[in-house]
């Protein structure tokens, strides 16, 4: 059954019966047209499941595109800035892509299912873009968002959960993918920076997979989680998000909202040697200029998350001068640090910055100027995320 965009609001996704049953909070949001839980019960509890146990998160609303054919690799290389040839079959690679002016459209992951078979997963709708990219090339593009359900199983016990469910994935290294059972694809990927897996299955088998994982995970503390907990984890892990930390140029009304990979700190994913790709000529010119702005991670004094804060530095005669703003912020419960993604003017990099944080204290707003220092890209980066085989817990 297709889920056409509806005027009546977001529609239930493939796991909805289970999410509905698990939801005590009844806190629903619209994620790409699909009814998705902000939280099922309490965000804090779900977040700690990601960090200390295992969390099961429905990521089916991600857009999933299949690109297949003798020239599928060329199609993707035409779109993304990295060299897709370097993703071996059975591997997953991060990629971002730009418009003709070198401004980021979206980022996502490319699954190389075979020499001529790829899957692209991302947030933005890219079907017509990919179809146009394939014009004149021998490859077929299809949207499998509706046909494919996806679950993220993230957290230190996630490997044990899969093992208990009878899925043999011990040899999977980070960014590997495998098909432990026909029709079930498992990749060691995720948006939490921790040990974790993503599972991809035809929509009609979605509920059975959910039940199987919940059953197997009971002893390992598995908990369904919502979007808020996932968002906390990804900020800690240092993963910028389209629509929050930068705006897709395709979605932006204001051309000035466009950001280059260099400005986003993703310049290492731009491969000028691989031949032409969308925006290459513009990026080649932009590479020579110092970026006008930078997406950075900050470590901010205090424990109040600096969501939406404007950033200042001391100017002439001690006046505050605005030099940027926070795009995502979080008091990291695991790192015990007040972290944020922020966009700052290029020349403000390395300067002493202050975040203007507003606090609502029993009916009254108070302002605090909190010192903001450059932070590591990832506030939380455990070794267990990379150990192969993963530890059993």
């Amino acid at each position: 059954m297709s889920r056409a965009p509806s005027l009546s609001g977001p529609l239930p996704g493939p796991f909805h019966p289970r999410l509905e049953a698990a939801s005590t909070a009844k806190d629903w949001a619209d994620w790409a047209g699909v009814l998705s839980p902000r939280k099922l019960d309490a965000t804090g509890r779900e977040y700690f499941a990601i960090r200390n146990q295992a969390a099961l998160i429905d990521i089916s609303p991600m857009r999933k595109y299949r690109i297949e054919g003798p020239e599928a690799e060329r199609v993707l290389n035409r779109v993304v800035t990295r060299d897709v040839a370097k993703i071996a079959p059975g591997r997953v690679g991060y990629a971002l892509w730009c418009d003709e002016d070198g401004m980021a459209i979206d980022d996502g992951t490319i699954f190389r299912l075979g020499p001529e078979r790829f899957r692209l997963c991302c947030q933005e709708r890219m079907l017509t873009w990919l179809i146009d990219a394939a014009e004149g090339l021998d490859a077929a593009v299809s949207d499998e968002t509706e046909a494919l359900a996806a679950l993220a199983l993230q957290g230190p016990t996630s490997f044990s959960v899969l093992e208990a469910a009878g899925l043999q994935v011990s040899s999977l290294r980070p960014f590997d993918l495998a098909e432990p059972e026909p029709g079930l694809l498992v990749s060691r990927t995720g948006f939490t920076g921790d040990l974790g897996y993503e599972l991809w299955i035809a929509t009609e088998h979605a509920l059975a997979l959910w039940d199987r994982l919940i059953e197997a995970g009971r002893v390992f503390g598995i908990l369904p989680a919502g979007m808020e907990a996932l968002d906390m984890a990804r900020i800690e892990a240092g993963f910028p998000m389209t629509g929050f930390d930068f705006q897709s140029i395709h979605a932006a009304e204001r051309p000035s909202r466009g950001r280059t990979p260099f400005e986003l700190g993703l310049g290492r994913h731009v491969d000028f040697a691989k031949g032409h790709f969308n925006g290459r000529r513009a990026l080649l010119a932009l590479k020579e200029e110092p970026p006008k702005r930078r997406l950075v991670t900050l470590d901010i004094d205090g424990s109040r998350a600096a969501s939406g804060a404007l950033l200042y530095r001391r100017g002439m005669f001690g006046r505050w001068r605005e030099v940027g703003h926070v795009t995502s912020a979080l008091w990291s419960p695991t790192a015990k640090r007040n972290v944020a993604f922020a966009e700052i003017e290029g020349e403000a990099e390395g300067a002493d910055l202050f975040a203007e944080i507003y606090l609502f204290k029993e009916g009254k707003w108070e302002r605090r100027m909190a010192r903001a220092r450059p932070g590591p890209r990832a506030a939380f980066r455990p070794d267990r995320a990379r150990a192969t085989p993963p530890a059993r817990r």
Binding site: R74, A133, L137
Partner: protein, 475 residues
């Protein structure tokens, strides 16, 4: 001494030949690659030319006077009272005064002044999307010319500039063959009716005197060769070659490689993209090129008679003139309407001339793939309105639909201008946004055909502008 730059020009139509001459004059070693056995491209199918433009002739080293005498137009009328038009002068073909003559003169002179004000926009790069220093002098020159028109004329140009030819005719002329001629010239070669917005623009581009087409292609080719261009006839371009994201030459159908630092294509943008391979272009550019409206609506028809055909009211002395059958604005617009739905009109409009026992015509308002016999039948039906019984005297009839013309010449959609001349495909937006300054995709590749700025007809200006842009980029 630095080695001479090598340039390859694809297509030896008027624009390819002018581009080649301008490149040769700019110091390049130029090879023109033409698939056909003779130079000229679409010129072989045209009957009349208003060009090339003096600036293009200068690049070829030709004088405007060398092109032969200008010819008059006879606007045919079913009543037999045809109207003879020579530039701004109009009178009945029998020599008597036409009641609309004065109004025709006033309108013609005004359009001439407007065309002169627009001229700086045509012979150089179009105004830039974002105003930068290099675009400023051209824009200022245009603004000054506009202002020098005087308040009244300037206001009038701004009023009619975006308007349509039917309204202009209704304001300025009595309905009839003169108004029909104006409407006809506003849509000739286009897929549009005179009520379409923007149809005044083609009128402003068509102020130069008319001449017969034949012999012109050979003369232009000879002049281009005289400037140092090398013509390779019967050599089709199979692919445009690139190295390190730069144009590097052209691969011919027979496998030969023509090395070049600059490649100029007088083909349509879509055809050029196909020769270069879409993977070298950004997806946005490919989308815009795919959206260019280029579907021809003009067919060529040749009718052979046993003896020179006689049209009632037409003096055989005017057989060499351009004959236009578009008896009124109210005849041109309905002729266009069915084309929108892929149907032939009952009475198409046309221009033509009589050479001995042959009547050659360009028939306007023909759907892209209309069957040839139906084109002939509709043409004869229209001709019967001015010459009853003419159809019965035809010994042999031949027609080329826009689809045939496309197959013969490679012109996109068989379109005269390689793309509609309309407000959304003009100046900065011609052939498409981001390509108006002739550069297209990888460095070293340029457009120089009718689809490029400023557009079609036999002006040679896209070729000249394309060559200038290419030379500038190498500086």
């Amino acid at each position: 001494m630095a080695e001479r730059l090598k340039a390859a020009v694809i297509g030896a139509g008027v624009n390819g030949l002018v581009a080649a001459a301008a490149l040769a004059r700019g110091g390049c070693e130029v090879t023109v690659i033409e698939r056909g056995a003779a130079p000229g491209g679409m010129m072989a199918l045209g009957l009349f030319a208003r060009g090339p433009h003096p600036a293009a002739l200068e690049a070829l080293g030709l004088k405007p006077g060398a092109l032969g005498p200008a010819i008059p137009t006879v606007a045919l009328c079913p009543s037999g009272r045809h109207v003879l038009v020579e530039g701004a002068e109009a009178r009945f073909a029998d020599g008597s005064a036409h009641p609309g003559a004065e109004r025709w003169r006033v309108l013609s002179r005004r359009l001439d002044r407007f065309a002169a004000a627009l001229a700086p926009l045509l012979t150089g790069a179009p105004p830039p999307m974002r105003l930068r220093a290099e675009g400023l002098p051209g824009l200022l020159r245009f603004a000054l010319r506009l202002r020098l028109l005087g308040a009244r004329d300037m206001r009038e140009l701004l009023r009619i500039g975006l308007s349509n030819a039917a309204d202009l005719a209704a304001d300025a002329l009595p309905e009839g063959p003169l108004a029909g001629l104006l409407a006809f010239d506003s849509v000739l070669g286009s897929r549009a009716g005179p009520m379409a917005p923007g149809t005044v623009v083609p009128l402003l581009l068509r102020r130069a005197p008319l001449r017969r087409m034949e012999g012109l292609a050979a003369r232009l080719a000879a002049a281009s060769e005289g400037k140092g261009a090398r013509l390779r006839l019967g050599a089709g371009a199979a692919r445009i070659l690139f190295e390190d994201d730069r144009a590097h030459g052209v691969l011919l159908d027979d496998g030969e490689r023509v090395e070049a630092d600059l490649v100029l294509s007088s083909l349509g943008a879509a055809q050029t993209l196909a020769l270069a391979g879409p993977a070298l272009f950004d997806i946005e550019a490919q989308r815009r090129i795919g959206a260019i409206r280029a579907q021809g609506a003009a067919a060529r028809v040749d009718l052979d008679f046993a003896a020179p055909p006689r049209l009632p009211g037409l003096d055989p002395a005017h057989h060499g003139a351009r004959l236009v059958l578009a008896p009124s604005v109210q005849a041109v617009e309905p002729a266009y309407d069915p084309v929108k739905y892929g149907r032939l009109p009952a009475l198409p409009v046309m221009e033509g001339r009589i050479d001995g026992a042959r009547l050659s015509l360009t028939v306007q308002c023909v759907p892209h793939d209309a069957p040839r016999d139906r084109i002939v039948a509709a043409t004869l039906a229209a001709l019967e309105t001015v010459a009853p019984g003419l159809g019965g005297e035809v010994r042999h009839a031949g027609a080329l639909s826009p689809a045939d013309i496309e197959a013969m010449t490679g012109a996109p959609g068989g379109h005269w201008h390689h793309g509609e001349i309309a407000l959304d495909q003009f100046l900065t937006l011609r052939p498409a946004n981001g390509m108006a300054r002739h550069a297209m995709g990888p460095p070293g590749l340029f457009l120089c055909g009718a689809g490029a700025h400023p557009g079609g007809d036999v002006t040679g200006l896209p070729g000249l502008n394309g060559a200038r842009a290419a030379l500038e980029a190498m500086r």
